[in-house]
Amino acid sequence: MADVAPTNPDTLIANGDPTPAIRVRDVVVGFGSKIILNGLSLDVRRGEVMGFVGGSGTGKSVLTRAILGLVPKRSGTIEAFGLDLAVLAQRERRAMERRWGVLFQHGALFSGLTVRQNIQVPMREYLSLSQGLMDELAMLKLDLVGLRPDAADKHPSELSGGMIKRVALARALALDPEILFLDEPTSGLDPIGAADFDELIATLQKTLGLTVFMVTHDLGSLYSICDRIAALAEGKVIATGTVADMLAIDHPWVRSYFHGARASQMMPPARLT
């Protein structure tokens, strides 16, 4: 970790470090003749919760996967903490991967391992902590995401959808990352569960000083926990800003999204002023 620049969230937040946590410039991603992202640029500032919205199939998940290096980009640059991810050496790349945690849309828990072992996978791979401390940390992470200790010895197939998301979040947090990528964290949860999950993310974000990059469809999450929102359409970010900024944007998709029937119901009256 020491080879990649200072990583102390305290000083970074205190000094208001101007380098964004993630900086995406003119990225083009396509599959075959189909261009998904066409010259997309985006900044995610340190310590903020960035909500990323867009219609289905516009490439929200593709951008996340491109940042994480799971999908190759055709051109453009992607930087994390000011380092260009394309030119990092293997060692630096691994150090970088320790600094982010990812919650996949369907959890992507290892089905052959118990919940506790799932959370310990990153610790086991990167560190040489004693088994006792790893067990305690895994239990602590479970407790932080609001699961009971008896879930620890279950296998993913024995868990409900909401529990899978929580365990996946606990695993994403295993190494205390600085950036948390969430791909539709509340999809498939009931409204109460989704609200709980939002609150959980907000609490963890404040406590741990995380930067959160969240792809979501959930208006509730956007209103309640996102500091800024970026809207994706036609392969580009068409607008960024707070919910209030979004309401003022005059783009057909953004208008119908934030002024639709569902959005009006979500709107707390106080926010309008």
């Binding site: 970790m1 020491a2 902590l129 940390l137 200790p149 010895d153 197939s157 000083g209």
Partner: protein, 377 residues
């Protein structure tokens, strides 16, 4: 140089002042654990201690956990510990990720003789259950077949043809190749061993009877169990994992009829055809080796073969093939349907499917040998 968590302690009157400095994060790895142990070691000789966090440069949940755990353990030994001068963010972390007991009952484990006996018992019951399940499943397959026979529109010819291509046509090259090689090996050994008794021409009888009655069908069945049985188990198993089988059921479709019957029918069609190819390949291999290595001309080989074998020698092998196919298909389907949620379980079922199918194929071959001997066929 990588900064590490550090602990320095001083006496301050009756109390001990423990100063923590450096980054207390999970990146510290073992050093983090050692530093935490150091706090406990320093503290336990005193009546009270103050932990000073003002020089800590970074703290995360792991760091907060080990510090607070040290505090709790010292408190448990009667040392009053005060954690002070943490900055507000660290204070929140200490509160959120502070020490807490986790009670978790360990699963009861039976050891020794009782555990061994319990294991043996469970194994025996599992074998019995497997047998009952097999018979029940055979019943299900037969009822599905009967339904299709009464109403042929329910049969899925496209699926059957597709699987005949997968299990039969695409398996033909490898089956022909291995049987050709085995025919060659049997012939070589036959010529080599029998020539010592001056009975080299009997090699043709050896090849004809051994290959047609036993070897070709056995090798083909084993190959098909490994190649197609495993594929069926993996397909059915992953469909089970993704609730696709349940989806079929709630649509009023019988998974046995939709998925398993076409595959079993395809196997029952393919395996005899493959066995025939295997017979021919092995005899051809035998012919080439007896000619090249044993010096027996093809004309003599053919004449000898005609007198050595009769139609029933050939049929004995072929009759067994559909039964082998049925057993392979059924075991594959049963094991596939037993799959649970995890990737590990799928792997286990595929292994079990292939192992059980090969075992049963050999067992059935033995039973057939006894049966044909008894009826003198």
């Amino acid at each position: 140089m990588k900064a590490e968590p550090e602990v320095t302690s001083d006496r301050a009157g009756d109390a001990l002042l423990v100063r923590l400095s450096g980054p207390w994060t999970i990146g510290g790895d073992r050093a983090l654990e050692d530093a935490a142990a150091e706090i406990e070691r320093a503290g336990e000789r005193f009546g009270s201690a103050i932990i000073d966090l003002s020089d800590v440069t970074a703290l995360d949940t792991a760091g907060a956990w080990v510090i607070d755990r040290a505090r709790a353990r010292l408190a448990g030994r009667g040392v009053a510990v005060d954690v002070r001068w943490a900055n507000p963010r660290h204070q929140t972390l200490l509160e959120q990720a502070g020490w807490r007991p986790f009670e978790r009952e360990k699963p009861a484990r039976r050891g020794g003789v009782i555990g061994l006996l319990a294991g043996v018992g469970a194994g025996a019951v599992a074998v019995l259950r497997d047998f009952v399940r097999g018979v029940a499943f055979l019943g299900e397959v037969m009822t599905a077949l009967a339904r299709c026979a009464r109403n042929p529109a329910r049969l899925r010819p496209t699926s059957v043809v597709f699987h005949v291509e997968q299990f039969g046509f695409r398996a033909a090259p490898i089956i022909v190749l291995i049987n050709f090689l085995v025919g060659c090996i049997v012939a070589q050994q036959g010529v080599f061993q029998l020539s010592r008794f001056g009975a080299a021409t009997f090699v043709v009888d050896l090849i004809g009877i051994l290959v047609l009655r036993e070897l070709a069908v056995l090798l083909t069945s084993i190959m098909v169990a490994g190649r197609s049985g495993s594929a069926i188990t993996a397909e059915v198993g992953s469909m089970k994992m993704r609730e696709e089988i349940d989806a079929l059921r709630v649509m009023g479709l019988d998974p046995v009829e939709v998925l398993i019957l076409p595959r079993i029918i395809a196997l029952v069609i393919s395996l005899p055809l493959l066995t025939f190819l295997a017979d021919m390949a092995a005899i051809f291999g035998g012919l080439l080796v007896t000619w090249g290595y044993g010096g027996l001309s093809p004309e003599i080989f053919m004449a000898r073969l005609q007198s050595a074998i009769s139609l029933n020698t050939f049929l004995v092998g072929l009759i067994k093939a559909p039964f082998m196919a049925l057993v392979i298909g059924m075991i594959a389907a049963i094991e596939g349907l037993k799959t649970e949620g995890s990737a590990e379980s799928l792997g286990r079922q595929v292994t079990a499917s292939v192992v059980k199918a090969i075992f049963m194929v050999i067992l059935i071959d033995g039973l057939f040998a006894m049966f044909f001997a008894a009826i003198d066929y």
